[in-house]
Amino acid sequence: MPAVIEVQHLHKSYGKTVAVDDISFAVEQGEIFGILGPNGAGKSTTVECIEGLRTPDRGQITVLGLDPQRDRAELTQQLGVQLQDSQLPDQLRVAEALELYSAFYRAPADWRELMDLLGLAGKANTRFGKLSGGQKQRLSIALALVGSPQVAVLDELTTGLDPQARRDTWELIEGVRSRGVTIVLVTHFMEEAERLCDRVALIDAGRVVVVDSPAALAEQAEAEQRIQFRPSVPFDDGLLTVLPDVTNVIHRGDVVVVTGNNNALNAVTSVLARHQIVAHQLRVEQGSLEDAFLTLTGRHDGARPRAGQN
């Protein structure tokens, strides 16, 4: 089956700043595809080119077989977009906005049902200016979906939402995907990408670093394992640093933090047992997408070279 979205050798600069250098990827039907990267990486520019809001300098983009620039009219019928930071007139009521937008599409969804689904039914007559941040975000998602699109692009979906609202939104997106909509999710939250995405494109400084599933990426980077504990008696760090599976030992107060590869836990506990040191409050953290990202982009914590403006 042909890919729903194909991006090939996309290049876009603003004056002297190169926002997108050479980005290529394909999005398959029915998946949730993440575009992950730090601020300024070129994520928003890339999706704006996909949406047809910006004209690329070089490269080719196809969405559902359509050209975002030439076939704008048809594409807008099939592509729903939730924009970061986009407002509506303050005085416009929720139900009015949904009714208005549904009049734009050939085959709109039932906006009342959509309003219920997004938990906005109680706010049907509330003016946009009086909605909370979470409610505005939900309305934004509803407006992106009101046209029954085949593809939805969601940009920074949960920025500014409280943790509960964030989780509710994640559940909602999973529900949307299960109805057959292909979703492109732009985010800088590792946790969000790990939770929602089938595949993720890591983007940094205008280039694609890698495209794979979140789990595979974490594994691929030989992600670190972090072991924390309070030792029953103090000991020499050398006991642990000599182990080949251990890369680093630091102390945070009386907590010892050992980093190493996936075999580290075994090695560390063996050594501690041999020396009759009990590890209290032992905690193990598995390598995460965040670690993979930092490793793959060759970054060290705290040292972030400034990329071009987004």
């Binding site: 977009v81 986009s86 009714e99 009049a103 734009f104 085959a107 969804a109 029954s148 057959g180």
Partner: protein, 261 residues
């Protein structure tokens, strides 16, 4: 492969533009916009009442073919309200929409931002028409002001005046970076224009130089055109051409320069 079930059969689906116009109309009657609308009608009416109470304004004047000063002053009030709408309400509304991201959002929908501009202009034009009718009616009923003797000429001049002023309003919205700047530019344009319309000093009483400048401004052409029609003559071609030129020039410039974000 739709997200939800199909809409119920009773759902009404007007055209995108129709819905947008209805929405713009609703928004125009809420909050701050409502205040703007009321001012557009209230201020000219107030001036009408004030001047209508001045006895000398109500005496027939021979050079006006028997019409009174008030009769000939009404066109200035009409120009005032159309200018108020076009220069003080259109630019901040549209530039504000751009600033908020409303236009950008519409770019991702089939409706597109051009339609919302059209809807906004349609609503403002309707408001202008209503205001003109109200002022004329109050003037006729309250102060015995005559209907324009050359009605067709009056209508043509009126339409061209609205077109010219709205094109200027659109142009200001196109170039102003924010809603507040748009409001400011509109105000700066409004007062000189009203001066040259003869609001404070009738055009015939102006020094020669100012009269020439006046005739080159949109309202300086519009007011004499409307006054001509009031007296029973067609507006001159020069007046109508001046208005048309403003409409076309500013309209094209706005179309070329308008940014959606």
């Amino acid at each position: 492969m739709s997200v939800m079930t199909a809409p119920p059969p009773t759902a009404t689906r007007g055209s995108a533009l129709g819905r947008l116009t209805l929405t713009e109309l609703k928004l125009f009657t809420r909050g701050r916009a409502l205040v703007g609308m009321l001012l557009t009608v209230a201020v000219p009416l107030l001036l009408l009442i004030i001047f209508g109470s001045i006895r000398s304004f109500n005496r027939p004047v021979k050079v006006y073919g028997g019409l009174t000063v008030l009769d000939v002053y009404v066109p200035i009030l009409l120009a005032f309200s159309v200018a108020l709408l076009s220069l003080l309400t259109i630019p901040p509304a549209l530039a504000g929409y751009r600033e908020m991201g409303v236009l950008r959002r519409l770019q991702t929908t089939p409706a597109g931002p051009v339609r919302v501009l059209t809807a906004q202009l349609a609503v403002k034009f309707g408001a202008a028409a209503v205001t003109v009718i109200v002022i004329l009616a109050v003037a006729r009923i309250g102060y015995g002001v005559a209907w324009p003797r050359e009605l067709a000429g009056f209508a043509v001049a009126g339409l061209l005046t609205a077109a010219a002023l709205m094109a200027i309003g659109l142009f200001i919205a196109a170039v102003a970076p924010t809603g507040n700047v748009a409001r400011g530019i509109g105000a700066i344009a409004f007062y000189p224009m009203m001066f040259f319309a003869g609001l404070w000093l009738p055009i015939p009483n102006m020094p020669r130089v100012l009269q020439h400048i006046s005739h080159a401004t949109p309202l300086g052409a519009a007011v004499p055109a409307l006054q001509n029609a009031t007296l029973g003559h067609w507006p001159t071609s020069l007046q109508l051409l001046t208005l048309a030129a403003y409409a076309v020039a500013f309209g094209l410039a706005a179309a070329r320069l308008f940014r959606w974000e």
